[in-house]
Amino acid sequence: MEKDNKLSMVVFSGDMDKVMAAFIIATGAAASGMEVTMFFTFWGLKAIQKDSSLTGKGLFGRMLGLMNRGGIETIGPSRFNFGGVGRWMMKTMMKQKNVASLRELRDMAIELGVKLMPCQMSMDVLEIDADKMLPAATAPVGVAAFIEEAAHSKITLFI
């Protein structure tokens, strides 16, 4: 199969630091002229969810939605979060050093034409409706849609 100048990435993690790495790689690749697709699944979905959107239908889904509410600003680092103190500390340090915030990185990715694909199956499991996703995201897709993208990509990553 002919490979295009393309990067496809699975964003499984919903941790601030890992999502940040994902968006840095995505924007860097897009800035270098590559076509970029990010497939968001499970905890990663939160990175492309609208701000302060409550989700869930049944009891478990609503509980999960409540604990997992809010958009990209509310995700914490994979280590030393300490109930949000770690997130605040990291954000403060990033700001002091003038590193782009997660939101800015995501805006840049959208501006550069990075394709943001939400995973339908994990949205079903976590009870998240398609209207809770950013308008910039594509319609929810399945694994075959990602595989089609990945099969044509020079670079594939799982974060």
């Binding site: 840095i24 924007t27 800035a31 270098s32 002229g33 590559m34 003038n98 782009a100 840049m108």
Partner: protein, 80 residues
């Protein structure tokens, strides 16, 4: 260098860290026609590796990059 080649765009990337210098560079390059020149200055030492790599991957031409004190000055020709 800048007195030999007149830039079409001048970019101030001072204070920006990875990945913003190359992101801003690409956004500026997108608005130009092939053959036009971008001159820029950054303060992140990472650009010494990143801007040449960006040029190679994106297919643009790096005319020069040099350190001047705490600043990194570069000139790029849009060829992609």
């Amino acid at each position: 260098m800048s007195d030999v080649i007149k830039p079409d765009v001048v970019l101030d990337l001072k204070g920006l860290l990875c990945p913003m210098p190359v992101v801003k560079l690409q956004l500026a390059a997108k608005k130009l026609q092939p053959g036009q020149i971008i001159e820029g200055v950054a303060t992140d030492p990472g650009v010494m590796a990143d801007i040449p790599a960006w040029a190679r991957t994106s297919g643009n031409e790096l005319l020069s990059i040099e350190q001047q004190g705490k600043e990194y000055h570069f000139v790029v020709k849009k060829t992609a």
